[in-house]
Each structure stands twice: as C-alpha cells, then as structure tokens.
Subunit: 202 residues, 4 copies
DNA sequence: GATGAATGAGCGTTCATTCAT
DNA sequence: GATGAATGAACGCTCATTCAT
C-alpha cells in the first residue's frame, strides 16, 4: 500500500475516532466520518471495505495506542512501584485524552460479543495489558516488596481489571474533577493488594 | 396505574432484556421486543412513550435487580468477609445469569454519556453499590480486620470498580469456564487490598 | 395470508408490471413501484421480502397469465388448425397487451441465467407451453393433417421457439402496424412446417 | 483515428464482451471492464464518451460478428439446403461461442426499446439477417425445391425468428447437451416450412 | 495518453413511529 | 386495549463520472 493511501486511511481513522468521541459509537454514520475528515461521503468506502472495516481498524488503532502509551510509560521506571505508578498514570492519562481514547474503547466493548474481529483485537489488547502486569509483578517479587508466592497471572488480571473498572466508573460519572481521585484510588488499591503479605492470590 | 398495565409493562421489559441478551443492544428493534413478548408491534408504543423510554425503564429494572440481588446476598451474612464473599458471589452469580443481566448492563454503559436519563439511573446504581461497600468496610473496621484508618468512600469505590472490571474482562473473553477463576481473583484481590495493614487507602 | 394482504401484493405486482412496461426492467426502483402503486416507499418491503422477491413473483404472475391466456384460447377450438390459430392469436394478443406482458417477459430473460428462481419459473413456463404444443400436434396427427411420424417433442419445442422468435422480432422493431404481419408469418410458418409430408421432424 | 486508439477501443470492447458474458449485463461496471482489459479505471472514459457509448459499440461489434460469421458460412455453400444448413450451423456455433456472443446479445434485447441507438443497431442486424434469408430462399426457388410462390420477405423473417427463438430457448434451459438437439430442431423445422408445397407463405 | 483518488447522486433496505380499525 | 399496515427519514453502499497529476 502506498504512503499516500496509508495516510488517507489514518486520516479517516482519526476522523472516526473524533466523531465517535463526540457523537458516540452508535450514531456514527459514514457521513459523519466524511464530515469530520473533510472529504466526501464516498471516500470511506473507497479506502475501506465497509464501515465495519473502518471500526475494526479503529479498535485496533485505539487499543494499540493505549497499550503503547502504557508500555512506554513503564519503561521509563525501574522499580515495581515506579512502574505501577507510571502504568496507572498512563492509563488515566489526562481527562481529555482519556475521553478521546478510553470512551471510544468502552463503546467498542458492547460490540465485542457480536463481532469476532473485535473480540480478537480486544483479546490481543488484554494480552498486552497482562504482559505489562506480569512485568511489574515479577519485578516486585524480585525486589521483595510483593509476596514471592503471589500468582503472577492472577495478579496481572486483577491489575487490568481494576484499572478498567476505575476508568469506566470515572468516565460514567462524568465529573472531570474526580480524575485524580479515581487515579489515586486505583493506584492505592493496587499497591495495597499487591503488597499484602497475607496474600491470598497464590 | 392499573395492575394490568403494570403487568404488561413488566412483560415488555423482560422481553426486551431477553432480546438484548440474545441479539444485542444495537440490533434491538421494537419488532424484536414484540416478538419476544408475544404481542403485536404496536404494544410497546402503547405502553411506553417510545423506544428510548423502554430502554430507560429496562436499565432501571436491570440495575435494580443486580443491586437487590447483591443487597439480599450480603444480608444473609454477618461478618465483613462473609458479606464481601457473598457480594462477589452475587455479583458473579452464574455464567448464564451474568450474561443475561450484566452483558445487557455493559451494552447500556456506552449509552450513558449520550443520555442523561441513563446516566441518572447508573449514578443511582453506583450509589447503591457504594452503600453495600460502605456497609462491608464499616463492619470490617468494627471487626478489626480492616484498618481503622481506611477511607470508606475510597474503599467502596474501589470494590465496585474491581467487581465491574473483573466481570467485564471475564465477559469479554467469552470463556465460561473462567467464571470461577475471575470470581476468585476478584474476591482475593479485594480481601488483599482491604486487609493490608500498610494501608494506603487513607 | 389474509385476503387484504393478498390484494396488496397483487396491487404491488401490477404496479411493478406497469412500471417495467413503461420504464424498463433495469431502471425499476422501489420508488417507482411505490409511485405506480400510489403508496409510500416502504410498502414494497413490507409486503415482500425484497425487490428480488417482487420480481420473482412478478415473473411467475406474468408467465402464468401468458400461459393461462393461451391455454384458455386453445380450449375454445377443437381442431388442430383451430387450436394452433387460437394459440398464435392468443400469444400475439393485441399490440398493447403484448407490450404490457411480453415485453416485460423479455426483460426477465436476461436475468434467468443470474437467478435460479427466475430460471425455475421460466422452465415451468416452457413446460406449460410445450404441453400446449403437444396437445395441438397430437390432435393434428389424430386428424391426419400432421404427419403421423412427426416427433411431438421436437414439434412442440419448435412451435414455442417460433412464437417467441416472432414476438421478439416484432417487439424489437417497434412498429405496431406489423403486428398482424408477424402474427400471420408465425401461423403460416407453423402450419407449413407441421403439415409437410416430407416431414423431417421424426 | 490512430491505429493505437482503434486497438485500445477494441481491447475495451472485447474486455466488455468477456465481462458481460461472465458477470452479466446489469452488473457490469466500468471497473469490471478495466479489470478485464488489464488497464486502469479511467481508460474507458478516455476512449469512449461514457458507459452507454461502450455498450453501443459493443452491441454493434457483437451483431456484426454474428452476422459476419453467418454470412461467411453460407458463402461456402452453393445449394439452398447447404446454405441453410450452414446458416443454422453458424448461428448455433459451439455452446461456448454461443454463450459468449448470443447471451450477450439477449442481454441487449431488453435495452433496445429504451435506447434508440441500440434499436438502430439491432435493426441493421435484422436487415443483415434477412438478406441472408433472402439469398437462401431465392436460391431455393431457383433450384425448384422451395415453392416459387413463397413470399421471400416473410420467409426470411420467419427464418431469423425461428433461429433466434430456438437459440433463446436453448440458452434459457442451460443444458449444454441440448445444443445439437435444438440445432437439429431449428434446421428441420426450417426445411419443413420452406419445402412445403402446400405453401401458405404467399 | 493514462491513472486512480475523489465525488455525490441514487439505490435497496431498515425500522421507529403513527393511526385507522 | 390492541393491532399491524403504512409511512418516510435515514442508513450503508455502489458506481459512473470527473479531474489533478
């Protein structure tokens, strides 16, 4: 595929992201995408097989972006707590960024069970998230601040679950000023659960 | 409102629940509702203002059901751990029940930000959930198994976040056999985070 | 199916027939059908599965009408030549009627190879036509005016082929005044071929 | 027009013929033509005014090909029956060739009445066919095997009608193995009708 | 000469909503 | 109370045509 075509496709994906972020997943029309991209109605179908194809690529793009952002963040830190903090910071990002990306992601969740392509992409996203969790937990165990008998798989699953759960609850409440509050809750709860020596996650 | 009218409305709501559980939120048509309810197409519009009105009542009904179920469960227990366990057990319910109710609830989440009625209902649901959390955390502090300086508000928020996060991740993976696994992870993580004496949730 | 529904469906079929007769098969839109039927655009899809379903029923209706008309005509006569004459007369009908029905039929022919439903209906039409031919040829042989060793199958095929060939050529020339001329040619050629004692159709 | 231009136009016409033969007249797109011709999408509009212009030239090309083939065939023979046989042989050609050319021709028939250009081309084709018929009938009368009082115009019209009628019926049945059967029926019927001394075509 | 990205009118189809019965 | 026929706006999608390169 040519550079130009690739650029056009990205332009359409970004337009779709913006359109969904503002108008919502379910009311998204091809006309919306065209309008946000500043092109004509037919362009989307010219560059993508169909609307579902756009959404699939968008989900992949969004989850990749979220993961990359989080992955890069934890690489900057070299302690378990440092990485964990960076992870949560990256996941929460800023209120604006979060709405732009994570809100669109939530819209996709409802579609996962109706679209195996979406499910596949989400499964990959989970895999990526768990790998971040494993990296943090392993390091914490090496550092001796996390119990050595802690089940890494379980822990990484619970980390992502709590992050998603907190983000969703924050987003649903639509109070931007609670952003820091939820971020703190998320991080504190993670630290508490991971550093408990009466660990049950075994 | 007459008993008959009330009965008809419930019949329609249950039919809608079933229809969404099987066919999905976005492909739900009034014809579907009528088919599942075994009535004619016009009935829905006769008993509800419009489709959105049905969905609003359904969301209310579903969140009430989820809450009631969880509330009743914790009333059976009289220790913090007992109540917490009962809470998670009730939230996870059975795979089938969970799909029936929580999957529909996830479908609604994407709509919350576009519909203030939906948001209001979800806010009420959160309030209810937090009250369950508060009850458990308070009792745990009285029992002395949870740190006395733990922030009850934060703890109750984190409890619900983790439950929702775990449920969503489990549902998205579509592997029924992981139901117990996720339930265990959820409960163990909650206990670990709540019983940590190096508590940071303060 | 109720009487009323059946009536509506017929109304739509007749509207489609008229629309195709005037505007052509390929430019026919659901809006055209609605306009000709004097109803709204959605009606067609309410009473038929889709556009193709309308066309299928229309082809069946048209071929049935053509056959019935021809069948009834030959029942009025009791000699081979009388029946043959009646057959050709009925097939040519009047210029107006012929345009209304046979022109639409020609439009369908191009679709037969792309639609097995259409092919099935056309095959049935051919079967019906051949049965008329067989009846005439058998009677002619009994009367002794057609060679007794004439192959009835072949003869009935050639009869319908000539009728269709003449009708198509007449219709393509779009000279209404040639209607009688072509009808005469068709009948004379049929009689000539069927009464030739140096018969080769054996 | 330059040789190159002429060559390109022929390339496009042949590609169109192939595309229609395989995909059908109504689903033919300019993209199809480009694909079959192995050129880019814009080429067709560069060498032809528009799509209809391509089809017009294609119809002309196809009818000319059919006629030429038939004309050349009868020039090889020198008796009426020989020429008639050669005519029918040429018209039926082989199953594959017939599908390639005559099936496309049938697709055009439905358009004739909506496009005066198409009609003109078809009228010319009929003229050519009738001239073949006249040549055969005249020779047969000279040879004394066809009645001298036979109407040459009528006879030539009936000859082409039967040929087209038989070809269409054979094509519609989509049974390749009936090719010889229909060819035989066509020829035998023609001979029977033309050699009948009780001739009515007068 | 040739390309193929872009356009936008127009298609078939869906479906919430209305309303006569 | 209940029905379901009818409506028509709005959707995803196709494709002939245009035109900058």
């Amino acid at each position: 595929m040519s550079k130009l075509k690739e650029k056009r496709r990205n332009q359409i994906l970004i337009a779709s992201l913006q359109a969904i972020a503002e108008k919502g997943f379910h009311s998204l029309t091809l006309q919306d995408i065209a309008d946000y991209a500043g092109v004509s109605k037919g362009v989307t179908n010219y560059h993508f097989k169909n609307k579902e194809d756009v959404l699939r690529h968008l989900l992949e793009w969004v989850t990749d972006k979220i993961y990359e952002n989080e992955y890069n963040a934890i690489q900057q830190e070299h302690t378990a707590i440092g990485k964990l903090t960076a992870y949560v910071e990256a996941a929460f990002s800023t209120p604006a960024e979060n709405k732009r990306f994570f809100r669109v992601y939530i819209d996709f969740l409802g579609q996962v069970r109706h679209n195996s392509n979406f499910k596949e992409i989400n499964d990959k996203f989970y895999d990526n998230c768990w790998s971040i969790g494993r990296e943090i937990v392993s390091l914490g165990q090496e550092e001796g601040i996390f119990p050595s008998n802690m089940d890494i798989e379980k822990a990484s699953i619970s980390i992502r679950s709590l992050i998603d759960g907190c983000l969703i609850q924050w987003l649903m409440r639509e109070q931007e000023d609670l952003h820091d509050y939820y971020k703190t809750i998320c991080l504190e709860t993670l630290i508490a659960s991971l550093t408990n020596n009466n660990v049950v996650n075994q």
